[in-house]
């Protein structure tokens, strides 16, 4: 009877799928465009779509704190609320949805938000507020969301006693059939439990006769038929019960209950031979199932009714033997529950991962002690508690991993500090070799000279060194005392010619030389500027590194302390969950033990009565 599994999983898968549909990026920018406007939002969606919800949530929270999803504010907010809600964070999710309603005017976002808010309120038991939130939705939601809305609204109607509204709502549903099947089933069972057999039976019959395409829906159909069959039996409508129970598959997970019910229906009509057919088949099945245990008493009861006392005695004796063994096993299981071993063994086979979005305990370890928890798992309280407990265990492990990482980061910082201490003197020595201010001064002088040359059209100033030397020598001749004398006339002519040729050549090259000089000056200025920046960066880095390392170390210290504190709190909570879950398990095991004890007493009494009757007949 692990029946919550299928539907619960279905609902979560559907919830997250429709959230994905709702928050998926718009493809408005065409084939060649990019779908997301913030890469980090796309990265969150990647984890979300691959169903790694915890990573999606943590990355989303981090990205939002770093303002990396600025283009998807509303969708990011809605996604975070939905993820928190699915993770059991009703309060935080509720705050987000209320805030979103205050800030967004996008109708589509508003309607989806109203839906989530209704869900939060319903889960927290605020039924009137949930109803008001439902009523605020003023346009159809995306298809999957709409199905969830119908389902929740129907449950809300049931919880507030509005049965007719619930039935009318479900009758109006024309969407996905699987969703409506679950909604009909839930509502049908709820109505039967509240004494509204006729209305409930109609809904259950609808599910019990639906066409099923996969194991999930076939299983639900069987479940509906068992529920309906037993409802009829309880109302003493035995004739109605038999055909309904016979619709259940003979080898499905609900066949044991169905066989037991068919036998009871036959027995009620005093058709004991027919009843024996069902019960004998059942009595050969797994003895841990309560229906099979019941059959151990039902079979001899039917034999006795048919007057077959020896067979009845034989089967009662077998029942005594079996119940005796069961009692011993239950006592062992109770001892395990007392010291917590039972709970640990339940989670042993589970891989350690964070987040309980999809997690369900599909099967119990095939162990003779833990298998007695078969019915405890079906208890909503136990299942929810176990899920939260598992979340805490996973979070504790997650924090443990961070703790190890922080240790490694601390080592890394220490290595950085060491490297800094070793490299700094070498670096300082290298830097000292460069007299940057002198270089800058020289460059400024060069630039000034070139500027002067341009302004005065000083062709000598940009001439080559050889030409400048020649020019100086020729000019220096004019300062000689003999200059201007008769004897120097020939020399002066020669000097004039040479000076003229030199001037001609320098003038011819002047423009090109000036351009080259100015270009070289500009390039040197750039190089010196870059060098100055690098010097400044190196100085800043060397100066700030000790501070940066100290800052990181201080943050690591603070975070390590927080981890330690949180792990301590997690430890306390885990112990509470263990006590709570062990309490439920113990409660269930005690109930089972009492039932087996009752069976034992009934079997002993019936066997004694048969022996008495047989003895009386022999006298």
């Amino acid at each position: 009877m692990l029946r919550p599994v299928a539907n619960h999983r279905f609902s979560l898968v559907a919830l997250l799928a429709m959230m994905a549909a709702a928050v998926g990026p718009a493809r408005a920018d065409g084939v060649d465009g990019f779908l997301v406007q913030d890469l980090h939002y796309g990265e969150v969606l990647f984890h979300f779509y691959k169903q790694d919800q915890f990573t999606a949530l943590t990355h989303l929270v981090t990205a939002r704190s770093q303002s990396r999803v600025a283009h998807h504010q509303d969708d990011a907010e809605l996604l975070q609320g939905g993820l928190l809600l699915s993770w059991g964070q009703h309060e935080e999710a509720g705050k987000i949805f209320e805030r979103l309603l205050d800030t967004t005017e996008d109708l589509s976002v508003r309607n989806r938000t109203w839906f989530y808010l209704a869900k939060v309120r319903y889960q927290r038991g605020h039924l009137d507020a949930a109803q008001r939130a439902f009523e605020s939705i003023n346009a159809p939601l995306p298809p999957e969301l709409e199905a969830e809305r119908y389902n929740l609204q129907a449950r809300l109607y049931i919880d507030t006693g509005r049965y007719a509204d619930a039935v009318a709502l479900l009758n109006s549903w024309s969407g996905d059939e699987t969703w409506s099947a679950y909604a009909n089933y839930n509502t049908g069972v709820a109505l039967v439990r509240m004494g509204e057999l006729q209305a409930g039976a109609a809904l259950l019959d609808r599910v019990g006769t639906m066409s099923a395409v996969d194991e999930e829906t076939r299983s639900l159909r069987d479940q509906a038929n068992v529920a309906l069959g037993f409802s009829f039996l309880q109302a003493q409508l035995d004739g109605n019960a038999r055909p309904v129970l016979q619709r259940v598959r003979l080898n499905g997970p609900f066949s044991n209950k169905a066989l037991l019910g068919v036998g009871w229906a036959d027995s009620a009509g005093e058709q004991y031979k027919k009843a024996l057919g069902a019960w004998l088949e059942l009595s050969e099945r797994d003895l841990l199932d309560s229906a099979v245990q019941e059959s151990l008493l039902a079979v001899p009861y039917a034999y006795a009714q048919l007057g077959a006392d020896p067979q009845a005695a034989e089967h009662y004796a077998r029942a005594l033997d079996v119940f005796g063994t069961q009692l011993a096993r239950l006592n062992n299981a109770l001892a395990d529950a007392g010291d917590g071993r039972l709970l640990k063994s339940l989670l042993e086979s589970e891989p350690e991962s964070t987040g309980g979005w999809y997690w369900q305990l599909d099967s119990i370890p095939d162990d003779e002690r833990t298998r007695y928890l078969y019915f405890a798992i079906a208890d909503h309280r136990f299942h929810e508690g176990l899920k939260s407990y598992r979340d805490l265990v996973a979070l504790d492990a997650h924090l443990g991993q961070w703790s190890e990482k922080l240790g490694a980061y601390r080592d890394m910082l220490a290595t950085r500090e060491l490297a800094y201490a070793e490299r700094l003197p070498v670096l300082e020595e290298k830097l000292a070799r460069f007299d940057l201010p002198a270089m800058q001064e020289q460059q400024a002088m060069n630039t000034e000279r070139t500027t002067q040359a341009r302004e005065n059209r000083d062709i000598v100033a940009v001439a080559s060194a050889a030409e400048q030397k020649q020019w100086q020598r020729l000019s220096a001749m004019e300062d000689s005392p003999a200059w201007g004398s008769q004897s120097a006339t020939a020399l002066e002519d020669k000097q004039r010619v040479l000076k003229g040729v030199l001037l001609w050549n320098m003038d011819k090259e002047y423009r090109v030389r000036l351009w080259r000089q100015e270009k070289a000056n500009a390039e040197l200025a750039d190089e010196l500027q870059r060098a100055a920046e690098q010097f400044a960066a190196i100085e800043a880095a060397t100066a700030s590194l000790p501070g940066t390392v100290a800052d990181f170390e201080s943050r690591i210290n603070r975070l390590e302390a927080s981890i330690e504190q949180l792990q301590a709190r997690l430890g306390v909570s885990m112990v509470k969950y263990e006590q709570y879950l062990n309490g439920i398990a113990t409660e269930e095991l005690v109930a089972q033990r009492e039932r087996v004890k009752t069976y034992l007493a009934q079997a002993r009494f019936a066997l004694a009565a048969i022996y008495d009757r047989m003895a009386a007949q022999n006298r």
Binding site: T62, R155, Q223, V226, L559
Partner: protein, 178 residues
Amino acid sequence: MKLRAKFRGVLVFLLLGMTVQGSFAESSGDLAALDQETQALKKSVLELNRDLFVLEEELLYPSNTQVAVFVSMDVGEYFALDSVELSVDGKNVSNYLYTERELNALLRGGVHQLYIGNLKVGEHELVAVFTGKGTHERDYRRGASLVINKNIGSKYVELRISDKEQKMQPEFLVREWE
């Protein structure tokens, strides 16, 4: 033996266990109190986790040197991605093989962070090689490259696989984000 009476006990048990989804009413006070405590704990863990992530990123990939490369995908009709190989300045930095679930996430609009690392300021060459199946199940291998100019501040690069309808073949785009 009072069969009906006994049977009713079983019936109630069965029916009680058969509601497919529990409602708030089934939660006991104990569980509600524990739930409150759990919610507060989860909130604290989430906040701490955020601080840890920020610290890790600032420590390992300071924004001055940080470079992150992402992979995204459009329709994917002409190309089914198997893996992406990424090299930076001739050095292989990532080989990633995608699972079916991850491919589905990409097709739905998710963006995968293929690589995060540190690069100095200046020019760097990124080469991505995409391997997968093209049309008619044929093996397909294509490369795309980009020279990025790394400045002060984080650099994000998106490798995008897109369908080119006109040529009926995939297209591999590289885009820089600031």
